[in-house]
């Protein structure tokens, strides 16, 4: 099956659809949502086809277009074992959340504005597509300016959707998250420009030729820039606010933004600046460990169902960082696998939180209870999401976790006592995930049903069926992880 320019299509077609929706969408009303979902399903399918090609023949697929003759910039898209799974999963999650948003955003608009005179519904779906374009672009891009472009592209819908459709303090929080993301992207840009100055090219592959002090400086800038996005301890304070007050339909998107740093670190630093990155290995691992444990305790301290998922993202993302920072093949492969597994699970969890808010209007877990009888499928989905995060087989989280920890333990056993301690404390920290995912299940779904929730209806199918698809994907990955491992193994070839 030959599709011309598949990778470019996966970016341009959704872009075109977005512009079309923005212009004519007001008349279309509900269909706008389905069109945008359709565009995202289309890009997912294209990426699946590309993926199948790479599965059979492990050479990466590379497309190149001239961008700026003056600066010697080429617009390149590379789909190899590392970038394709990330792009594919991100697109799939965007498609799922697009379907999920269709009733949700209608509800939000009614709650906030009362009517839809401005056609906000189509703006949502037009802007929403930019998330997917951004993610695909970040994953597939081959030069630093292109990557920066797509990173900042994600900021635009981020700000607008927060500001228009968020909860409580949405204007302030929208600006807060805009500033945080912008600063982190700016740090990344400084690193990119420095790389250009030293090597004469913006290409990612040119990073390999950096040495010495230059490499250290550039590595630090890129690293810190992305660490801010990845919400490590110290930089994590924007996450609980942003994730709690956004419209829940874009929750999984935000989790993906936070997690994409893992992919970028592997792509830029592990693949091209490995020896320099190794210097950061132990400090990063310790930092990731602190984030894991602090994130877990912070999550345990939450009573709000959306902030719970938000703080959980901090902790779970640190797992992937721990794996990648271990600088071992299994650790890196496991880290990326865990990131993919996490965003699938987090999408399910956040979406269920959104369903709860949508149907009950209640966010505080102290007021919830006994909902499993009213919403059995939703409860089952939450349990599956909890299982994915807690690494219970046969879901994907288990496979990702043990593979990652082999790498972490290997690093730990290479000689230093600190490494060994980090590995053992790290694996015990995963126990905390179980507590903070299963205890809320009891608080929300079990026990007696409070009087105010007696009339709660089941979640609409258009919200639960997409999540079910994600759950099945996770089960498939959990039973036969080679589907993903084969991709990742071919892309990562360090000791």
């Amino acid at each position: 099956m030959f599709i011309p320019h598949p990778l470019l299509q996966s970016i341009l077609i959704p872009l075109t659809v977005a512009i079309v929706i923005a212009i004519v969408g007001k008349k279309l009303k509900e269909i706008a949502g389905w069109i945008s979902c359709g565009a995202l399903i289309y890009s997912t399918i294209i990426l699946i086809v590309v993926g199948m090609k790479i599965w059979v023949n492990p050479t990466p697929i590379y497309e190149e277009y001239m961008w700026s003759e003056l600066a010697g910039l080429k617009f390149g898209l590379l789909a190899d074992g590392l970038s394709l799974p990330v792009a594919l999963t991100a697109n799939l999650i965007c498609a799922v959340c697009a379907a999920y948003s269709i009733p949700y955003i209608r509800h939000r608009i009614e709650l906030i504005y009362g009517n839809d005179d401005w056609g906000l519904y189509r703006f949502y779906f037009a802007l929403y597509i930019f998330f997917a374009i951004g993610f695909t672009g970040i994953s597939l891009s081959t030069n630093l300016i292109e990557m920066y472009l797509f990173v900042e592209l994600v900021l635009i819908p981020f700000y607008f959707l927060m500001d228009l459709f968020g909860y409580i303090d949405r204007h302030r929080i929208a600006i807060m998250c805009f500033i945080w993301s912008h600063i982190s992207a700016a740090l990344f840009l400084i690193g990119a420009v420095l790389a250009y100055v030293k090597t004469g090219s913006f290409e990612v592959s040119a990073l390999s030729s950096l040495t010495g002090m230059d490499a250290l400086l550039i590595c630090s800038f890129i690293l810190v820039g992305w660490l801010v996005k990845m919400a490590v301890f110290g930089f994590h304070v924007w996450v609980p606010w942003v994730h709690a007050e956004h419209p829940t339909c874009i929750a999984a998107i935000l989790a993906t933004i936070v997690g994409l740093g893992n992919y970028v670190i592997v792509r830029l630093l592990v693949q091209h600046l490995f020896m320099i990155f190794k210097i950061f290995s132990i400090p990063l691992m310790i930092w990731a460990l602190i984030t894991m444990i602090y994130g877990a305790f912070l999550t345990l301290a939450q009573d709000d169902v959306k902030r719970l998922c938000a703080c959980s993202t901090i902790s779970q993302n640190a797992y992937s960082l721990l794996g990648i920072a271990s600088c071992t093949a299994l650790g890196v492969v496991g880290g990326v696998f865990y990131f993919i597994s996490h965003i699938i699970g987090k999408c399910i969890l956040f979406s269920v939180a959104g369903i709860l808010v949508y149907r009950t209007g209640v966010r505080d877990m102290k007021r919830l209870g006994g909902l499993a009888g009213k919403m059995p499928l939703t409860a089952a989905l939450f349990v599956i999401g909890a299982m994915i995060l807690s690494a219970i087989p046969p879901l994907s989280g288990f496979q990702a976790e043990w593979i990652m920890f082999v790498g972490i333990f290997r690093q730990g056993f290479q000689g230093s006592v600190i490494g060994l301690l980090v590995a053992i404390i790290g694996i015990f920290a995963t126990f905390l995930t179980l507590i903070y995912t299963f205890w809320p299940i009891k608080r929300i779904f079990f026990g007696p049903l409070p009087d105010e929730l007696k009339n709660v209806k089941k979640a609409p199918l258009v919200m639960t069926i997409p999540l079910l698809i994600l759950a099945i994907l996770s089960i498939i990955l959990g039973i036969y992880p080679d589907i993903l491992m084969k991709f990742l193994n071919s892309a990562i070839s360090i000791s």
């Binding site: 606010w241 345990l300 301290a301 006994g370 333990f409 009891k442 026990g447 080679d482 193994n489």
Partner: protein, 673 residues
């Protein structure tokens, strides 16, 4: 064709079949025909049992068979293969598990009639059986761990089956003592067992780092290579042992991770019978038996001294468990809790046997066989006891034994079969419980562990006491006023009838069965595993063979007589005796409070967490949050409002600024040039 089925497909069909049953039972059988779900799951479990039976003849000619398929490729190193390992250990346990599962499923069809959530129940029960069979048959650590975690999850879900927490499903009490709700009990089980699971995973990964393989057979055969590397780093082997043992200790409810099992009784009776008596809690014993040759090889054959630590750590912890939990059973008033404590105690026996088997070559075969024989006995009589308990609770409507009793005239089946099982538990000859306990005691003596022998003997006495106490309270109350008859449904008494009868039948062949097991495992160790014949050198002296049974029978009489006097013939009143004596009162309080271990954990971890929760938000998160999200903007605000003050519209001041600016530029140029 049949040969191929038997040789290659039987084990795979055996563990996959219940998974299929689990998925099918979710979709087939609607609201009107819920029984169909039960029939489907029972059918698929039955298929597993038939497959298990097909594998049974292989036990007598022990050999190892490892049948695998390719599964996970890693970036380097050999790919992980998924396979099944058939050896006497796995075949025996698979048979026990599938047979008891089948009987419990049939019992459940009647027991769960009219209850809510049956789709969930049947699906999870079947999933559980599949997971259990998977963990027994797995040939490598990762595949095994998948089954391990699956059964842990199903246990959580089934304990919390009555998720609405209705008052009638609460356990605990009697008032004024506190109650526990089913949803909390499930969560407690999940959390405590997961702590052990995480430790075990750490141990597994450390072994993988040194050995480069997860496969059990390869680990046993290459022990000399990889354990040498581990032994070269002092302390690593002991660390790995402790981590690895975390799993069995948590899953099999041994001290210090035993606190979840009494609460697990909140689940329906068949769940308690299947999961918490006959199968899941035995998984820990299974993995210790599976790991036994590795560490035995490491110490006795290859001489790595640290490998020895595996055995006394197990033996001491479980001997302690056996004693303290049996003591708890003496004072408990809830029927299922007595059985729960009893389970913990008996599993302690099994692991004790495995532990002493490794502590001396004189006891290896006896100990290993004793552990497995007791696993078989206990599975039979404890499952029977739990199924009977389910019926008793159903008939009396009360979870306590002192509330109401049953009239044995009207419940003959339950009375007979429960007594048979209770006598087997107590270790009365000729039931199978007697023979298996005897093996364990002999193993202790052969290994020279007289201290452990005394603890085991004492616990045997306590076991006899609480068994008779339990039966006395239920069926032999002084006043026989309960004239109402209760019907005993066939689907309920036939399963436990079969199990109790088996415990008697096996007991009648007890001595021969022990001898057969001895021979099988001797051959297994020597010829199949390649562990040298020094393991089989010793045969118990005839003196030991007479002393141990005699001592146990004497102990039974010593313990049984007061129990009979208190609870059956009612010549003395135990309550009066305890209340009169201060020391006995204190002892009763300590035993009632479960030696305060559970209270300690609750106070430290649960209450501690609840205290820490708001403090984390207030003292750590908020300061960082404010300093960055509020503080930094305020800084800017201060700066720009300060700067604004400089921008006056007054011409004279502006001219002053221009003057200052020009002067500074000139000075800088002069300095630089």
């Amino acid at each position: 064709m049949f040969e191929i089925l038997k040789m290659f497909y039987a084990p795979w069909i055996c563990w996959v079949s219940p998974f299929i049953g689990s998925i099918l039972s979710l979709f087939i059988g609607g609201e009107e025909d819920v029984k169909l779900k039960g029939v489907i799951t029972s059918t698929f479990t039955g298929i597993s049992w038939i497959m298990a039976l097909l594998m049974l003849p292989d036990v007598l000619k022990p050999r190892l068979r490892d049948i695998w398929i390719g599964w996970i490729t890693l970036p380097y190193g050999e790919p992980i293969k998924a396979g099944v390992l058939l050896d006497p250990l796995s075949i025996i346990i698979v048979n026990i598990v599938s047979f008891i599962s089948l009987l419990v499923m049939v019992y459940s069809i009647k027991y769960m009639e009219g209850e809510y959530g049956q789709a969930r129940y049947w699906s999870l029960m079947s999933l559980f059986v599949g997971g259990m069979l998977l963990l027994v048959l797995a040939d490598n650590f990762i595949f095994f761990f998948i089954g391990w975690k699956v059964v842990g999850f199903c246990s959580y879900a089934l304990i919390g089956h009555y998720y609405r927490d209705e008052r009638k499903y609460w356990i605990g009490g009697p008032p004024p003592h506190p109650f526990e709700k089913p949803s909390i009990c499930g969560l407690k089980a999940l959390i405590v067992t997961s702590l052990g699971d995480v430790a075990m995973l750490a141990g597994i990964l450390i072994i993988y780092l040194y050995a480069g393989t997860f496969n059990f057979l390869t680990l046993i055969s290459t022990t000399n290579i990889w354990m040498a590397k581990m032994a070269a780093n002092p302390g690593i082997l002991t660390l790995t042992t402790i981590l690895l043992l975390g799993g069995p200790i948590a899953k099999s409810a041994q001290f210090p991770l035993h606190v979840w099992l009494p609460e697990a009784m909140a689940g329906p009776a068949p769940v308690s019978a299947l999961i918490h008596a006959a199968t899941m809690v035995k998984a820990g014993v299974f993995i210790v038996a599976r790991l036994f040759p590795i560490f035995f090889n490491g110490y006795w054959i290859n001489g790595f001294s640290e490998a020895f630590n595996f055995f006394p750590i197990i033996a001491l912890l479980v001997a302690l468990t056996a004693f303290i939990t049996a003591a708890n059973a003496m004072v408990s008033l809830e029927l299922k809790k007595i059985l729960a404590y009893s389970t913990m105690s008996q599993i302690g026996y099994m692991m004790l046997s495995l532990g002493v088997a490794g502590m001396s070559v004189n006891a290896t075969i006896t100990g290993y066989v004793g552990g497995l024989y007791h696993l078989l006995s206990h599975a039979l009589f404890k499952a029977a006891l739990f199924l009977c308990a389910g019926l008793v609770i159903h008939m009396t409507g009360s979870i306590y034994i002192h509330d109401k009793g049953l009239n044995r005239k009207y419940t003959p089946m339950t009375w007979i079969f429960m007594w048979l099982s209770a006598l087997s538990l107590a270790g009365v000859p000729p039931f199978s419980g007697f023979w298996s306990k005897d093996e364990i005691l002999m193993a202790c003596i052969n290994a020279g562990q007289y201290g452990l022998f005394l603890v085991a003997l004492l616990t045997a006495g306590i076991t006899c006491f609480y068994s008779i106490r339990m039966m006395g309270y239920i069926f032999h109350l002084r006043s026989n006023e309960f004239k109402e008859g209760h019907d005993e449904p066939k689907l309920m008494w036939i399963p436990f009838g079969i199990l109790s009868s088996l415990t008697l039948i096996i007991g009648l062949m007890g001595y021969q069965l022990g001898a057969i097991l001895h021979d099988t495992f001797r051959e297994y160790f020597v010829n199949v595993l390649g562990i040298s014949s020094m393991a089989s050198a010793h045969v118990s002296t005839s003196l030991t063979k007479i002393i141990t049974p005699s001592l146990s029978i004497i102990m039974l009489l010593i313990a049984g007589t007061p129990a009979y006097i208190f609870y059956i013939s009612h010549k003395m009143d135990s309550w009066k005796l305890v209340n009169r004596n201060a020391i006995l009162r204190i002892l009763h309080k300590i035993l009632w409070n479960r030696w305060y271990i559970d209270k300690f954990y609750t106070a430290t971890f649960v209450k501690g967490l609840h205290l820490a929760r708001p403090m984390i938000q207030k003292y750590i998160e908020d300061p960082i949050d404010f300093s960055l999200n509020v503080g930094v903007p305020k800084l800017f605000a201060v700066m720009y409002s300060g700067l604004r003050k400089i921008q006056t519209g007054i011409a004279s001041i502006n001219m002053l600024y221009i003057l200052i600016f020009l002067t500074s530029i000139v000075m800088i140029i002069l300095v630089v040039i």
